[in-house]
């Protein structure tokens, strides 16, 4: 281990470089008069805009004179790399709004052992070394198959598929009826959709699969990932997904679906907001991703709009108080849930029929959820896993076999797992 002045010299240099090259000016200092300024780095999406967050915290600010909340948008590719840049530059925010990984957990202050923390979705699941460092506002479901009801009727598909065999048969019929059976695409979506379909099948029997893979007690090649990749390969071969998927943008995927060109699209519940905005000329249905045995799968899910407090915050008490407001105030929660169509037991808001259908799926699964993407807490993947999986799934469109992908992922995980 390196410590002392040399370490500080290196950090100083790195901070100087990073500050000069990678970050803009920050607004970390308090305003005149000793007012407390809480800087909140947020995840910006088409729905969760900067203005949305300003409105979200307005209630808190109004009730706390002397406290100012500054909403900061990512300057990098997302909040995670922006936070890393800010940490390197010595100017991190007070509150982080968005998903994090285990590496960043060390930078967060543990949340108090309070009821509002225990009640927050996924607070327990995000525990690291027994401490809660992140509290979610709601539940975001990510293993849903949206489908065009008119296309299913035209193709003669009655009922919604429960197994992958039934799903494949339905996709074949939809292709015969002139539709793109399943809408896939490039960018981040290729791997994300694959995880959305595979994870409920992998983690229904091994909920701590990521943690077990870190220890080397399970493998991709010997799991339902490999089985799912075989199915995916057959879809590519049979033209049940667009052969040019790698070149299709996320927005084009949505456009194709809402234009009625494609019959199904696997995505998270946030798609409901886009579908409501696009007003497609057909009824949209939703069902959970199929399983190999036809059983009802758990939903792959993430904490919706989670918050953490940086341990470097100079106003940690006020920052924790703000997080408490965001994840326990009824008005704030309802506003946050309705923006993305997310869920939380005991909370309701004006929903679309599609959102109601999704809520029923969660009820049907008994509220059971499993990890998606990078995972949570002790059940987290090494940094870079979603990106690497995305690359490997994309390579299947270029001829890589399912078997090769599984073996490559095992090799990658072994090289990147926490030592």
């Amino acid at each position: 281990m390196v410590s002392g002045s040399r370490r500080h010299l290196v950090k100083l240099g790195a901070i100087a470089v990073s500050a000069a090259l990678l970050t803009g000016c920050s607004t970390g200092t308090d305003s005149a008069g000793g007012d407390r300024n809480i800087r909140m780095l947020v995840n910006i999406t088409p729905v969760l805009t900067k203005q949305f967050y300003k409105d979200l915290v307005a209630g808190y600010v109004a009730g706390h004179p002397g406290v100012k909340v500054t909403i900061e948008a990512p300057t990098g590719r997302g909040i995670e790399d922006t936070l890393k840049q800010q940490l390197a530059a010595g100017s991190p925010p007070d509150v982080l709004a968005g998903g994090q990984n285990t590496a960043l957990a060390a930078q967060m202050a543990p949340l108090p052992d309070a009821q509002w923390v225990k009640d927050a979705p996924f607070a327990e699941a995000s525990k690291l070394d027994g401490k809660v460092w992140m509290a979610g506002t709601g539940v975001q479901l990510q293993s849903l198959v949206f489908y065009n009801k008119a296309a299913f009727a035209k193709a003669g598909v009655t009922g919604t598929p429960k197994t992958f065999d039934e799903f494949t048969a339905a996709l074949r019929k939809l292709k015969g009826a002139g539709y793109t059976p399943m809408q896939t695409g490039g960018e981040w979506t290729t791997g994300a959709q694959a995880l959305m379909m595979a994870n409920p099948n992998v983690m229904n029997t091994e909920p701590q699969w990521y943690a077990k893979r870190n220890k080397g007690s399970v493998t991709f090649a010997g799991s339902n990932y490999a089985k799912y990749l075989d199915v995916y390969q057959s879809w590519i071969k049979d033209g049940l997904v667009p052969k040019d998927a790698n070149g299709i943008k996320y927005q084009d995927m949505i456009n194709n679906f809402t234009a009625g060109k494609s019959a199904t699209m696997v995505m998270g519940n946030w798609l409901t907001a886009s579908l409501a905005g696009a007003k497609p000329g057909f009824d949209t249905g939703v069902f959970p991703v199929p399983t190999f045995d036809g059983s009802t799968p758990p939903q792959a899910a993430n904490p919706a709009m989670p918050y953490s407090v940086l341990k470097s915050s100079r106003h940690a008490d006020a920052a924790i108080d703000l997080v408490k407001y965001l994840v326990s105030d009824k008005k704030a929660i309802t506003k946050a849930l309705s923006a993305e169509g997310n869920f939380r037991t005991g909370y309701s808001y004006k929903t679309t029929p599609l959102t109601n259908d999704i809520a029923k799926l969660l009820d049907k699964a008994g509220g059971k959820t499993v990890a998606i993407g990078p995972g949570l807490g002790d059940n987290s993947s090494p940094a870079g896993f979603p990106d690497e999986f995305n690359t490997q799934v994309q390579s299947m469109y270029l001829g890589t076999t399912a078997d090769q992908v599984a073996r490559t992922m095992d090799k990658w995980w072994a090289a990147n797992a926490p030592k």
């Binding site: 000069a20 790399d81 490039g186 981040w188 040019d244 070149g247 084009d252 994309q394 469109y397």
Partner: protein
């Protein structure tokens, strides 16, 4: 440097005496006192000082820091890190991702440098001279360079994606789509094309500046001697442009070896990592995957490669310029 048909080194006639060489200091000349020399050098030091300070602060120190970090496993923000010796460098040379990124970068750099220079020089020759149309065209060719790389990436991605403008037109005309961004070869070609499109405007301007320095008398002499346009270009213009060629080749090469933002916006390294450049990889490893130590090792290797290439190119060009002069 001079065109090869003009000789200045031959003994001069009586009415054209050879240029007197500046007398050299011999060991008999007593050296000036140090105080005097320092006083004389002070204005120069003061003038160079700020630039030197900037170089030290923004180049030398970061390089030294990066070199130190490249021997560690630092994640970018932890309080401590472990020294790894040369492990990061060993891993780098066994990493298939690095090999792929190096190949992609090499293709972009070599093809892009050639294309930018050939295109830049050709258009500069065509647009050299006065005229409103030429001025407008110069502006048009330079315009892509004014746009940010991210804007260019998104723009061309909207044009070339599977559901983009070009493929929509092809579909409307009942033609097959072209997999610009979904096929590895097409995607790499598309990236190279867009890189060249967004870069060559600068080369046009630099070559135009070089063309302005060629004395009209030389071109006139060539015309009187009966040289064709091609002969004039080859024997007079091109040798005179040697310094411009050197600058253009080195500048473009160094720029293209660092392409990152355009790839990020246009293909995000896809499909399946086939357009992932070396600089893109460095940024991914550092801030996305939190491997600052490993990324620093990659940066150091890239810096060494760029330095060696730049030095070699400049040395080769200087040798060739000297050969022309002789």
């Amino acid at each position: 440097m001079r065109p090869s048909n003009v000789t200045l080194t031959a003994p001069g006639p009586p009415d054209n005496p050879p240029v007197q060489e500046r007398p050299r200091r011999t060991h008999h000349t007593p050296p000036r006192p140090l105080r005097v020399r320092a006083a004389r050098s002070l204005p120069s030091i003061l003038m160079v000082g700020p630039a030197l300070a900037a170089v030290v602060a923004f180049i030398l120190i970061p390089v030294v820091v990066a070199g130190r970090l490249s021997l560690t496993d630092w994640d970018g923000f932890s309080d401590s890190y472990k020294s790894l010796g040369l492990d990061n460098y060993v891993q780098l040379f066994h990493d298939p991702g690095v090999a792929n990124a190096a190949y992609v970068t090499l293709v972009i750099a070599v093809v892009g440098t050639l294309a930018c220079n050939v295109l830049g020089l050709g258009l500069a020759v065509m647009l050299n001279g006065k005229g409103r149309a030429k001025a407008v065209l110069r502006g048009l060719f330079f315009y892509p360079h004014v746009l940010g790389a991210v804007i260019i990436g998104f723009l061309w991605s909207a044009i070339l994606s599977s559901e983009g403008a070009v493929n929509t037109l092809l579909t409307a005309a009942h033609r097959s789509k072209i997999p610009f961004l979904s096929d590895p070869q097409w995607a790499l070609a598309a990236v190279v094309f867009v890189v060249v499109w967004s870069t060559f405007g600068v080369n046009v301007v630099l070559y135009l500046a070089g063309l302005q320095t060629i004395p009209e008398s030389l071109l006139e002499a060539a015309r009187i001697d009966g040289a064709s346009r091609w002969q004039t270009f080859r024997q007079v213009v091109l040798p005179m442009l040697a310094p411009s060629v050197t600058i253009n080749v080195v500048l473009v090469l160094v720029q293209l070896l660092r392409v990152y933002d355009l790839v990020l916006a246009m293909t995000d390294g896809g499909p399946a990592g086939h357009t992932q450049t070396y600089a893109y990889l460095v940024l991914s490893e550092s801030f996305l995957n939190g491997k600052i130590g490993y990324a620093s090792a990659q940066s150091i290797v890239l810096m060494i490669v760029i330095t060696v290439l730049a030095v070699v190119i400049v040395a080769l060009r200087q040798r060739s310029e000297k050969a022309v002069e002789q």
